[in-house]
Symmetry: C2
Subunit: 482 residues, 2 copies
Amino acid sequence: MAEKISFNPLPEIFNAKAIAMVGASNNVDTMGSVLLINTLKGGFVGRLYPVHPKEKEVMGLKAYKAVGDIPDVVDLAVICVPTRVVPDIIKDCGVKGVRNAVIISGGFGETGADGKKLENEILALAQTHGIRFLGPNCIGIINPYRNLNMTTFPYFQGPGPLGLISQSGTYVTQVIHYLEQKGIRYSRAMSVGNQADLDLVDCIDYLGNDPETLAIAIYIEGIKRPRAFLEVARGISIKKPIVALYVGGTEAGARSSATHTGAICAPNSLYSGLFNQAGVMEAHTIEELYEWAWALATQPIPAGRRVAILTQSGGPAASLSDACEKYDLKVPIFSPELQDRLKPLVPSTGSYKNPVDLTYFRDIALMTDKMPRLILEDHGIDGLIIHGLMATSWLRGYEADPEVSAVNMEQLTEMMKGPSKNLAQLPKEYKKPIICSTFMGRDIEVITKFLQDDDIPCFYGPEKAVSAMAALCRYGEIRRRA
Amino acid sequence: MAEKISFNPLPEIFNAKAIAMVGASNNVDTMGSVLLINTLKGGFVGRLYPVHPKEKEVMGLKAYKAVGDIPDVVDLAVICVPTRVVPDIIKDCGVKGVRNAVIISGGFGETGADGKKLENEILALAQTHGIRFLGPNCIGIINPYRNLNMTTFPYFQGPGPLGLISQSGTYVTQVIHYLEQKGIRYSRAMSVGNQADLDLVDCIDYLGNDPETLAIAIYIEGIKRPRAFLEVARGISIKKPIVALYVGGTEAGARSSATHTGAICAPNSLYSGLFNQAGVMEAHTIEELYEWAWALATQPIPAGRRVAILTQSGGPAASLSDACEKYDLKVPIFSPELQDRLKPLVPSTGSYKNPVDLTYFRDIALMTDKMPRLILEDHGIDGLIIHGLMATSWLRGYEADPEVSAVNMEQLTEMMKGPSKNLAQLPKEYKKPIICSTFMGRDIEVITKFLQDDDIPCFYGPEKAVSAMAALCRYGEIRRRA
């Protein structure tokens, strides 16, 4: 395979206006049908053409026996049919003049030598017909900016700044609800499957040039073109952060990846070296992959490692401080000037030297406006971690109980909008990052919801907030060394 | 302070039948009132006596001007009044003959030298009157077996096997919803505050002897009696697992803990040595503390480190395998006999050598019964990790949509009860642990809910499942070396 990036068809694929859904039917138990359901329910505004040998109408849409029967120019074919039928569909697409495809069907390189042979055949066929494709053995693509979700799971969130590239479909789709609970939203998401034609490098190249993607997360089981990866990633990582999780360097991991996407694995150390040279940040867990990338996609890059901690709880203050030192972040004692400014705002049982521990607060603006501003203004501080913002979660379960709650829940929710909005714009105003730690999920705490929706990372646990802040600092160092 | 355990009043405190709530009023903005609210709403079946200088009735209960006015024997006084009033309340309790107290009020040792002096005064007063107490500067106690939740947050879960001891109130209360989302339930939970009288060691001694507590989790900022800790913890850890998280060994951590609970900190390495000698497992994040302890509280201890992996997703199979090797767990290739048994159950696109990757499944019993049984029966396997059990989460958002879902959601939920129950009893049957990994929260996936409610740990992410399995293995080694 060529080690060179030529014309990249991915912008066309992600912005297709007329899509043939080959293999969709009225039997909702098949994957092709589920893809169509999610595309329809996702609110895609383009034209959709189900293709099926028997159905006349599929989910309210006119169906066609073959791609060639569609009375429209088709930008993209999504192919989800039995393995043996795939070559014929590619030929049909070629004759019709379809230039791009996403091949969902499995049964190719991941199953062994025979499958690999078949995979080479469809690649040759596609090349003959001038067709570029993602897959086979992938799970589809998501472009929330166009309400396009052609995958097996519903995506209800709005668009966001995180671009995801994955060799595992699971890490695109099964995680959607999990990411939603953290307020993490995609700009684009794609599963590359066996990478017979378009591969990780093409996807990185695409997202590197996509203005709606502000950070790139990649799940990797094996890179087919290491030199191209290095070249492309190095060019992008100096302007846009890239985080990667590599799995497959261990014996059992390799055994698993081989049967999964046919990837050929190399030792972890080799990949670590490659990532380091390419300016790619290496995550070690799937949670780090998403959370680091989300922090990088949403927050300004800090100038240094001096972190302020603001809480109303002693335990999290201690945990945050401890984690900062473990991650090699500094939690400096505030300057005497800053201490003088903070002291009048902190009760006598609290502390104001860094960490700031309010122990208790009544005025939410203390934690969303006054104190964050004083801290971010200070030249001795590069970033701020806040733990313990809460309003509605105290009252969980008692919402309808007038005996307990003098303020009604809707009023309280309304009251928290302003303070949350205010806090959310401080990173832009001061060009310094804010990351929140909380144990209060967006389902019970409106401040968590508001902040997450306004692109302030709120992660569940002090160590996660610190880990993400440390990732921001490391990226600053990568960029400054470049 | 004596380095000896004498009579332990904690069983009396946690099983109090008549409680004076000193400081509760009808002003729901005070902490004393919130404690009473949660005690009432929690469904406590004992007798509650609000004590307040002005109120005649508090939240429907007759209130008393002083503890001495209560016309009943009082087992426990919960004291949540301004700092300066605490000594008088202790005297009143002494005169009344109250033997036990929980002192919520702060403003003592954690605020500096003056506060420390006051703390010593109340300790002396309590000793004079024969009163034992938790606190001051703590957040209360929870005993779900008696519907007793005297803290600042509601606890709606049922009782479970995890005993929690914390120097931070936050890690008892702010985490309740967070733990609920993981299906983690307390047997007892207590915040020890400044440990003026009863300390961590007394609490460990108590939970070590409590039959409803099957594992103990401890959040530590500083141990006051290291020798007693070692002696007591060593005696317990050979029969009941103890997991500890120590925070305070770094400079900023120490600064924070000192103002928080007045703890005096020592380097991390010193605590690591102490834990190791005591057979206590050391967690490094708050999430590890809870998740390891939950796995240890619910699962049989494996005889060795040989782990089987069962999934329907290639990505998680690779992640789980990779994480196992990083945590020094073995993922051995199955014996030819086991492979022969599994092969007919796995589709041609999947794999059956370990990891097992079904790629897709229709029959839930494959993953909840047939395959787990075949695997757990095998003498070459010590424990099982499963990823990807799901039924209702596929349909999230489409529940009411007959076009999409042929099976209705209630029927589907009902259908999953049997398979979940079946899987949940396999660890007992085979005396081998099962841990699940999933990205599907209990709010959208009934299988997650059913399994969690039946004490099968379902953690959100492959690395967390592996980390917990590794903790089980390490505890097996601790016990075998003893």
